[in-house]
Symmetry: C2
Subunit: 214 residues, 2 copies
């Protein structure tokens, strides 16, 4: 594989990722991708075989590595703290995903691509769950386990992690709704506010309400 070859290949991957994330697999044509990548129509078939394989490669070569960077950031962020606690984990998690090492565009693409796979799983879903989600969940479970109440089983722990996760995911992918409802843009200040919210809610829930149901 020559140098120039890689450059074309990389350009295709970049443009394909952006277009697939924004518009979805079926709405994007190979022509659109190759035009954006300033190369020939045939280049996709030459480098990736076909459109479907290009899509999968976007996950392998772009999505998975970026997810790993976020997880690495989370790990280091946790390691740098003196005291490990539930709130430290919640904060590191929220920061890694909402601020973290990715650019705003990367973050948006990342959650668009993942959400599309959640609504309608394809081959890429396997990659995404088995290579990224499942190991990360396992890691989170091991980290949080010591801080959980005695009686809490593995399922309870898993559901707690999923609950935290749901906020992190939602505040990323449903930006357009969150902005509408709160009237705020996703600037640095608002992201800080969201991290704070996730940590606070993860620790105390709504807080202040009665603790007994009707």
């Amino acid at each position: 594989m020559s140098k120039k070859d890689q450059i074309t290949r990389e350009r295709i991957l970049n443009e394909a990722e952006a277009l697939f994330a924004t518009n979805g697999y079926d709405a994007v044509s190979v022509r659109e991708i190759t035009t954006a990548a300033r190369c020939n129509l045939a280049a996709v078939n030459y480098h990736f075989g076909n459109k479907q394989k290009l899509y999968l490669e976007v996950f392998r070569a772009r999505w998975v590595p970026r997810a790993r960077r976020v997880q690495e950031y989370f790990r280091e962020s946790l390691a740098s703290r003196d005291i490990l606690s539930t709130s430290a984990v919640a904060q590191a998690l929220a920061e890694a995903f909402l601020k973290g090492p990715l650019s705003d565009d990367e973050r948006q693409r990342q959650s668009q691509l993942m959400t599309r796979e959640l609504i309608q799983p394809t081959e890429a879903f396997e990659l995404l769950t088995e290579e990224v989600l499942r190991p990360f969940f396992k890691e989170l479970a091991d980290t949080l386990r010591p801080f959980m109440p005695e009686g809490l089983g593995n399922e309870g722990l898993a559901l707690n992690i999923l609950s935290m996760f749901s906020m992190v995911i939602y505040f990323n992918f449903a930006r357009v709704v969150v902005s509408r409802i709160t009237g705020r843009d996703y600037d640095a200040a608002f992201k800080d506010r969201l991290v704070e919210q996730i940590v606070e809610f993860s620790l105390n829930g709504l807080g202040g309400g009665e603790r007994e149901g009707a």
Copy 2:
């Protein structure tokens, strides 16, 4: 509009909804829809003008009314309780969305369609936010306001509601991940478990962890 006309129209709407939800707008052809609805290719143009208008009509005639049914269920469920409390609201909310008046298929379609609009808003997004989401959020805010701590501003309240909502939405649309991680199917027992989880997490967060960060 004759009786038979309505029947064809309704059949098209039903099939279109299912197909758009499962496969997304661009992946579905008018041919697929009309074949599934056992009518002619031209029927979509006759009844709805074009494909895009059919898509919008799916939201107007199917999605919005169903969302209203869920909200109505929530309202009645709350009204039937003796004591209004934070946990009562959380429970009514989780039950309305995870169990509620919709069939399992309806629920799945509903969240697929909404999530697609969140990732990539079209005209339908306006309908969805202004006619359904925003009024419901306002209602929830009014209901919860009396139970919130004194100092909590409108933004804090909005974020709390969004946090609860994120769990409800996530446990609906990310079934495939939730099932993978927990190893459980979405049967009646698991849905009860999820309602319990949402209520518990909404009230106490993770619980049991230290309350002080590092």
